[in-house]
């Protein structure tokens, strides 16, 4: 009974599925599926470019790519965006090992040095870069320096993105924290920062400031390391084989953080990344501490806010945690000189569009723009441009850098201290024992 109609519908279903599959195969032909299977590379005039830029950065990067494309019609730019962190760096490494690397890729400078050590990046020769203006004198010296590994240049910096201090102008004004010209008063001491947060808390009725803690190890690390660097400390030395954590300095910083958050409740002790931006944009907190990239979020929410350099709380030589985006050339034995020049032209075009890029809050590494009046007018993004040469990158090691387990180990312990779940001393011994495992492991790079 009814078997005919059953088998008929099943057959139709299979037929439909087959058509869909075939359709996929045909459209796949155009997008490199077949070329990939056959081992044939993309056409010669294609420039493949990988990056990890999402959100507002992603939108601005696409605008920059489009401008490049319009100006260079003979080149077909093929940009691939992958989600940042492990998914990106893993694919970049494996594509390079598999001899199918992109022509040019974005890398954090802290990660570029690891890739360079692994022999996955091509060294860049000053002589071939000079015709494109890609010389040391045109870049933020601190970033240019970090772009070198073992004395060789491997990356072209695009920007520097430090930890910065966001503040709500409405809250700061009511709390009496603005001077006569409307700028934030100097908060360069533990007492001044504590007092400002206390005053802001009175105004908001909730919290003085906010920083992401839950399910986030990078942000706690950024705040801790900035304060710790201001005391002159380092965590790793000798390429990560030695742990040089200064217990007294670390304890001083951790105690200060715990005091502000868990003890005084000036900042919430339990809030995740999204929650932190929401609390700031809705006015439940007057200050917010994060990398410069959240500028787009608060411009979108139309919050009355401004940004400034993270204060020099401990008053030593100014230091602030940062990383940089940079362009790298993954190793490709088949790459010709003509191809390299095409890539350098592309990089130069991106740098020439630094005015677009800087809208995302990052301090452009390209000095011709960084020192221009146009950048000065870009507020609040240019307020903290002075820190570009005082930033500290993670101490070099095969296990450090943005998205690394070094930052996870440190950040998790710092977050536990901030939330009042762990004493500073316990956190320090926790950090030491976990880092020791890495310091004693032979580098896989």
């Amino acid at each position: 009974m009814g078997t005919d109609s059953h088998s008929l519908s099943r057959r139709n279903l299979l037929r439909g599925a087959g058509l869909i599959g075939l359709g996929g195969l045909i459209t796949g032909c155009g997008s490199g599926f077949v070329t990939g299977l056959a081992g044939v590379g993309a056409p010669k005039n294609t420039l493949s470019y990988w990056n990890l830029l999402g959100g507002g950065d992603g939108v601005r990067m696409i605008a920059m790519e489009n401008a490049y494309q319009q100006a260079h019609e003979s080149v077909a730019l093929n940009a691939v965006v992958l989600s940042w962190g492990n998914p990106y760096y893993t694919k970049l490494s494996l594509a390079t090992l598999g001899n199918k690397p992109p022509d040019v890729a974005i890398s954090h400078l802290t990660r570029a040095s690891i890739l360079a050590r692994a022999g996955l990046l091509e060294p860049l020769n000053p002589g071939e870069l000079a015709p494109f203006g890609l010389t040391g004198g045109n870049f933020t010296p601190r970033a240019w320096d970090m772009a070198h590994t073992d004395g060789t240049l491997y990356a072209i910096p695009l920007d520097t993105h430090p930890l910065v201090m966001y503040y709500r102008t409405d809250v700061a004004k009511k709390a009496g924290l603005l001077d006569s010209s409307g700028n934030l008063k100097n908060l360069d001491s533990p007492d001044a920062l504590t007092a400002a947060l206390t005053a802001a808390k009175k105004v908001t009725g909730a919290y003085g400031g906010v920083v992401s803690i839950n399910n986030d190890s990078a942000t706690p690390w950024r705040v801790f390391s900035t304060l710790y660097y201001q005391l002159g400390g380092s965590v790793l030395a000798n390429d990560g084989q030695d742990i040089v954590l200064d217990d007294a300095k670390a304890e001083k910083v951790l105690t200060f953080i715990q005091d502000l958050i868990a003890k005084r409740g000036l900042l919430p002790s339990s809030v995740d990344y999204g929650g932190a931006t929401t609390m700031f944009s809705t006015g439940k907190a007057g200050f917010y501490f994060e990398g410069d990239w959240e500028i787009t979020t608060f411009e979108t929410t139309k919050s009355p806010f401004s940004m400034t350099a993270f204060p020099n709380v401990f008053g030593g030589t100014y230091a602030v945690q940062a990383d940089s985006h940079s362009f790298v050339l993954p190793r490709d034995p088949a790459r010709t000189d003509a191809r390299r020049q095409e890539i350098f032209r592309f990089i130069r075009s991106m740098l020439d569009q630094s005015s677009t890029w800087a809208q995302g809050g990052h301090i452009p590494a390209w000095l011709p723009f960084q020192t221009s009046a146009a950048y000065d007018k870009l507020k609040p993004a240019s307020n903290y441009k002075g820190v570009a040469n005082h930033v500290r990158y993670d101490d070099r090691a095969w296990y450090s850098g943005s998205g690394s387990d070094f930052e996870n180990i440190m950040g998790f312990a710092i977050a536990a201290v901030a939330a009042g779940q762990m004493s500073p001393a316990a956190a320090i011994s926790d950090m030491r024992s976990k880092l020791a495992l890495y310091a004693n492991t032979k580098s896989p790079v």
Binding site: L97, N215, D272, G275, F412, M422, K434
Partner: protein
């Protein structure tokens, strides 16, 4: 199972006439039909697994091609003496212990309840199964919002019933695992529920009629008929659930990243961290082989238990 069922159903008319040669042809056709799958199975499961076994004896790195230097049993001894490995193993076991009993018991209770309904059964089947089709990423996002301190719905609901200082769900090391387990129970209950519901519908109604004629109460019927006849379903549900729980990665990775301060990091995330974040793929392979042994042990226990059960029945 299904390969047996299809020829007997389709070939009922010709079954008598089937010659040995024809049967051989059918066997060949069967292999032919299975070949594409077998090829993929070999290429993407057996092959990589064997490669993983080999890799676990080498210092393989994500940053270098090839296997790297021979490490002997170093990777294994390092994993077995690493406190991080054992704490991750414990978190995986803890998650399994927290999720398996409720996922079996609640699924059974809900299935019995739904089975008893005279009408509207489809509605409850849909309601209880629906969360299961939600992708892990969406589920993690929704539950993270529910658990958000102060502004999350859980805290709102709890304060409405007088609990004004609720636990700090995902951020308290003592509560984080419980919170993830709770979300998981809601999320995956539907699968066990459907298995139980199918098992219940297999039980002949006449048994219950006979029992009630003999004066058995509802409770006695449940204890003497329903539960014993569901024994094989329970065995299946239990082993599938234990294996599913041991595979925990998605929810924890998305909701806590293994935190606060590594207090929820399961073994699979440990493998992910050392393999992808630290580039040490050889060591990661050794850790996953040890974990594979645990899953294998669980499966073997079920295999022998169900075999003796079948012999007994």
């Amino acid at each position: 199972m299904s390969t047996q069922a299809i020829p007997t159903a389709a070939g009922a008319r010709t079954a008598v006439a089937v010659a040995p040669a024809k049967r051989r042809d059918e066997g060949r056709a069967g292999w032919g039909l299975a070949a594409p799958f077998l090829l993929f199975y070999l290429l993407f499961l057996i092959g990589p697994t064997l490669y993983g076994v080999i890799m676990s004896f080498f210092n393989s790195s994500l940053q270098h091609s090839g296997l790297g230097g021979f490490a002997g049993a170093n990777n294994y001894s390092q994993a077995l003496t690493s406190s991080d490995f054992w704490s991750a193993m414990w978190h995986t076991v803890l998650f399994t212990l927290l999720t398996t009993p409720p996922l079996v018991v609640i699924a059974l209770v809900l299935a019995i309840f739904t089975d008893r309904l005279a009408r509207g059964r489809w509605f409850f089947r849909l309601v209880f199964f629906a969360p299961y089709v939600v992708p892990s990423a969406a589920m993690a996002l929704v539950w993270t919002w529910l658990y958000t301190p102060q502004i999350g719905l859980w805290d709102k609901w709890l304060s409405a019933v007088g609990i004004t200082s609720p636990p700090n769900w995902l951020a308290d090391p003592n509560w984080a695992m419980v919170s993830v387990a709770l979300a998981t129970v809601w999320w995956t209950l539907g699968f066990n529920f459907v298995l139980y519901l199918a098992g219940l519908q297999e039980i002949p109604r006449s048994l219950y009629e006979a029992a009630s004629v003999d004066g058995a109460t509802r409770w006695q019927q449940m204890r003497r008929i329903t539960i014993p006849l569901l024994r094989r379903t329970t065995g299946l549900v239990l082993v599938l659930q234990i294996i599913a729980s041991l595979k925990i990665f998605d929810q924890i990775f998305l909701m806590t990243s293994g935190g606060p301060n590594y207090s929820t990091r399961p073994l699979l995330e440990y493998v992910y961290d050392i393999g992808f974040t630290d580039f040490r793929t050889g060591y990661a392979a050794a850790a996953s082989m040890l974990y594979f042994l645990v899953i294998l042990a669980v499966s073997l226990v079920w295999f022998f238990a169900s075999r003796s059960q079948r012999k007994g029945a």
